[in-house]
Symmetry: C2
Subunit: 303 residues, 2 copies
């Protein structure tokens, strides 16, 4: 089953204690689409400028990713610059130039409208609703968002969230959205806003899943080296939604596995700058790390 | 098999967003001993003052805990006051009065010297060595420590650590001791200092185990309410060492289960102030939560 995904494509400048990269292909949708494309066909909806060249397009077109919904308009592509210190959970934004993204409105090609899985990447909640209004029969609407929309367009965000089945956000965002510090309480409050499924991403500390009666906690995969944490959450979403679309099931067992696949994709992403590691990855690598994740977390039950 | 344990017994004043408690029985050893006593007999080595009364003693003597090594000396018992905000991982020390603890030197009653499991709670590493020098045949030496000793008595700490089999410390302490931000790297560097087993406690984010080739990551148990995080790490150590002593095995499977029992005891401890929850706990409660922990973390393997 194919996944319709909307979000940002950008060129990033990245600084971490382990290196530096300029004009690195990024944006939430790039990470999501590459990660999800190991599981199912992805239909991208985004906007790029004239500086988005054939070598950039080739990153996606070499994989099961449809680019018909990728708008190309005059001007420059969205650019973002960020710097991380040794605490890779904290980052400083150096600059944000929206460029062509400033006037972006998602328009779905007719062939996209009957996608069964929809992922609304972190963009203005009003634009997320524009996508929701154009689709016809969706089995699952998954979405990401961020603290900016909670602060500046809370009512609009709440309206969008009502139409979302699975919300994927990080721990500080969950606390801000729900207004409580306890994550179990926060998840239940967020579920009361609409989404039956809430996934709370905690970076190097793993992820939590709340779905119906299902509570699942996963640590992050243990890595000896993290080069660049950019895009980890988006790649997580790609692995998560990707596995759901591939299996065609939405029960607790599949949701739990989807969290592990999300963690696996995130763990690969942070091993190198930008989407580099996602480009060299194979499905065999992913399954091998899923099994390593199993060995990392298994313990014997009581007799 | 019995566990010889040395550490502090104190009266704490505790303030959290969820309440306030004065002259609450505490100190690392109190938490450790109560938690471990659900698994094996515990022999306490500590010092208390004249203000430690029969009702305080009854907290321990009602359980399989030997108090022969509890020194009673003129003066007041160690007292500590701490305050927590909504971020329960951060605390402010309001006061520390060492009192009788200031001149404490552990002396083992003859019957204690042949204990098979030894836990060196967080005290001056020189005192930890005094205990090591008095024991005869120990199968496992487990120890805790803190940032204070890393900063002020590093050489002495390193000397103690050489004689430790299992070191249990928290994540910021592991980073400080090893001098690297990555926890996998930190654990390997610490293992090179002596301990074959390193357990890194991450509070609400779970725990990591490194032992030989064994890597194990466990999330924390999900709680809807944390009233007082004091003593969670000490109760974790009690559950961990307790399960090892009870099973009499030190292989990877038992070490992993011991981490889960540690997490379970920590999760109960934070539900109420001081050692209150540990006092009302039963072994059946512990095993029930171990099984709940299993349900929280299990996922289906790949076909």
């Amino acid at each position: 089953m194919s996944i319709l995904a909307v979000g940002s494509v950008a060129f990033d400048t990245l600084e971490t204690p382990f290196g530096h990269a300029e004009r690195e292909l990024g944006g939430a949708l790039s990470y999501f689409a590459l990660a999800a494309s190991f599981f199912a066909r992805v239909r991208m909806v985004a906007v790029v400028g004239e500086d988005f060249g054939p070598q950039d397009e080739a990153v996606f077109s070499g994989r099961p990713i449809d680019l018909e919904g990728l708008q190309r308009v005059p001007g420059d592509t969205f650019t973002w610059g960020g710097r991380y210190g040794y605490d890779l959970n904290e980052r400083t934004t150096l600059f944000t130039h929206l460029n062509v993204f400033e006037n972006f409105h998602p328009t779905l090609p007719p062939a996209y409208r009957s996608s069964e899985f929809l992922f609304l990447g972190n963009i203005d909640p009003a634009l997320q609703r524009e996508v929701l209004e154009q689709v016809e029969s969706v089995r699952l609407v998954a979405a990401d968002t961020m603290n900016y929309w909670m602060t500046h367009t809370r009512e609009s965000l709440l309206q969008t969230i009502q139409g979302v089945d699975a919300l994927l956000i990080n721990d500080s965002e969950a606390r801000q959205l729900a207004g409580v510090p306890n994550l179990l309480q926060a998840a239940e409050l967020i579920r009361a806003l609409g989404p039956d499924t809430v996934v709370i991403k905690k970076g190097e500390h793993g992820a939590l899943l709340f779905a119906g009666e299902e509570h699942f906690a996963a640590p992050a995969f243990l890595l000896g080296m993290v080069r660049d944490p950019t895009g980890a959450g988006d790649a997580f979403a790609g692995g998560f939604v990707g596995h759901l679309a591939a299996s065609g099931r939405l029960d607790g067992a599949v949701l739990r596995q989807a969290v592990v696949f999300g963690s696996v994709l995130a763990s690969f992403t942070v091993e190198d700058f930008g989407v580099r590691r996602l480009r060299s990855l194979t499905r065999a690598d992913i399954d091998e790390r899923f099994r390593a994740f199993e060995r990392l977390t298994r313990f014997e039950p009581l007799p």
